[in-house]
Symmetry: C2
DNA sequence: ACATTTTTGATTTACGTACATCAAAAATTC
DNA sequence: GAATTTTTGATGTACGTAAATCAAAAATGT
């Protein structure tokens, strides 16, 4: 049987109350006595029964999730995962509030962070816009003992507790290698389509992609980045113009959202098969395009994993516990038409 | 506040004892009363506090993991993950026993299953060898109310409760597409290196790979399958002979283990760069080969995920609860040199 | 209407921890 | 060595559920 507080008390020759004082480091224990208790804990290999402790404490975790609004499929999927976590809140002792905020808008994000602050939650998860004033707002939350996890897009220099998202430089590099090898011997320029250079994840992907193309596939010319604001309508227009301008285009790397517009433009111009297209995030649209061959590969981050990881980390940080970073690493999924997961309800 | 059993009792106008009888379907409740209680449960949205229930029940889960012995790196990694789960057993209320068994040996596996049976565990996880007598042994476990999950390699027709592993046909197809596209315009035959056709996962991968190569890359000739028994020494010898026999070899798909031998042969014959090599499972060896360029892509299944998923499923099945299949799906990871995860301790 | 069976209520103990209170004992100060 | 402060013990209640016991009440059969 697992040792309990009673066993420690017996072993150390002290009362239950003293064991309790040591375990929850309450004051009023001489250091000699404390040592005795700690030795008993060590020799018995006692580990606190977290379930029983949480029951006794009536512990719960109020969290705020700040997510971009808009009709970006990936972000809506992310929100869906947060809502799924809310449905599990009873058994997980969490109380999650979602705060929507306009995309790519640092000012609005700062305001949302301050609103979150007022709710005095145990932790905040935020899809960050990379701006100094946002970092400042995050610092204020942390100085009040509120745990902060960045989600999907990171905010270095803000002192956030953790980043729940993929290594976007590695993702860009991976896209680069796939692009180089899939286009094989073909010449022709490569286009890069981004959402906005205001978010860290897009900048990082571009950096990784450009680096690999320059290092390993110097024969391919990289065209200037097109910013489509993750807006399907704008993206379609821009890609249409691109295809007319560059008739011998070999590939397109779409590192942001708005893939609906990209696919529409490719299919309307009949370029869907001749181009090598690599995109990000598995959504109903990108899935269909992958299946039909319009998109050749999709790099994905599993939104469900990210949300669950963010919650685990927020809980741990709120309790002052360590996080096993390796276990919380979010991997980059590569999907070809052959390894698409079964569609979910 | 979450409703408790007391709230249900009050709402339904019955005693706590009756609520308990309904919740744990004990006998001695008239159906009218049972209905009253169930309506109260539904209207209050009561969900049992699993932590408190497990505490009161002193619930624990004795499980047996049957794993192949030998120096197969992937299997040793898998065992490491099981041991990591054992270290967490205190907080997870599990008691895990590992039963080693010779690889690819149906008779030994049957015996191990019977030994596991005698221990009367709540569940068994097993890396299956695909043979009728093994399926029969699994059926016996299940008929005694012991949950059975197959791990890594499945056993269809055995009535196992769940398979914790990847879709190996899809994995083979993915390897096929990568092989076809990476070898690009090059002609030359493609070799397939397997461990043993006695295990389902290897057979499935071969099936998927062959199908894609035939459908989409008919120009490439597929050589007869080489079986290396996942033994590095044997594999090196076989691959060496292969390279001498087929000087214009375009690619090798290694769908089993024993990658050390494969890499050694490729590097000694100076074929490491000219060949497109695709292998399975990320181990220290395959990682190094990926980094150096000897291997072009590694398809991986995350052993840690598989073990954790198996445990979750075994727990759920032991409690007669439903499993969210979509959540327990193990994905196929594709690693290129660009998206290798950071090495762990 | 009686005996018999079935159903229900009331109550208690337990799981392992948290937390509070009050008294007793030990250590410290002057 | 008395007064004071600090440390420790003893004890009880709570968290939400499980499980058992025994008595009381209700339903059933004849």
């Amino acid at each position: 049987m697992r040792p309990t507080v009673h066993d420690i008390a017996a072993k150390a020759g002290v009362s239950l109350a003293t064991v309790d004082r040591v375990l929850n480091n309450r004051p009023g224990v001489r250091s000699v006595t404390r040592d005795k208790v700690e030795r008993a804990i060590a020799t018995l290999g006692y580990v606190r029964d977290v379930a029983a402790a949480n029951l006794a404490k009536r512990r719960n975790y109020p969290f705020v999730f700040i997510l971009p609004a808009g009709d970006n499929s990936f972000m809506r999927g992310l929100e869906g995962e947060v809502r799924a976590a809310m449905a599990r809140s009873a058994s997980e002792r969490t109380q999650i509030t979602i705060l929507p905020v306009p995309a790519f808008d640092a000012q609005a994000l700062v305001q949302a962070l301050s609103e979150a602050h007022q709710r005095r939650p145990a932790g905040v998860a935020v899809v960050a816009v990379d701006a100094p004033e946002v970092a400042e707002a995050v610092k204020q939350l942390r100085s009040d003992g509120i745990a902060v996890v960045t989600l999907v897009s990171d905010l270095p220099g803000s002192g956030r507790d953790h980043f729940a998202g993929v290594d976007n430089i590695a993702a860009g590099r991976t896209a680069g290698t796939l692009m180089g090898r899939f286009t094989g011997g073909r010449a022709g320029p490569i286009a890069v389509l981004a959402g906005s250079m205001l978010v860290r994840d897009h900048r990082d992907r571009l950096e990784g992609f450009s680096a690999v193309m320059a290092e390993e596939f110097p024969a391919h010319r990289l065209l200037p980045v097109i910013e489509g604001q993750d807006d399907p309508v704008l993206v379609e227009k821009l890609v249409h113009a691109l295809i007319e301008r560059e008739p011998d285009l070999a590939g397109i790397y779409s590192l942001g959202a708005g893939n609906r517009g990209l696919v529409a433009a490719l299919e309307k111009t009949g370029k869907s098969k001749t181009n090598c297209t690599i995109a990000h995030e598995l959504t109903p649209h990108s899935r269909a395009a992958l299946r039909s061959g319009t998109i050749d590969a999709v790099l994905n981050q599993d939104a469900g994993h990210e949300v669950r990881s963010a919650i685990r980390v927020l809980k741990a940080k709120a309790d002052g516990l360590a996080v096993i970073e390796a276990q919380e690493r979010i991997r980059i999924d590569i999907f070809l038409k052959d390894n698409l997961p079964i569609e979910q309800a």
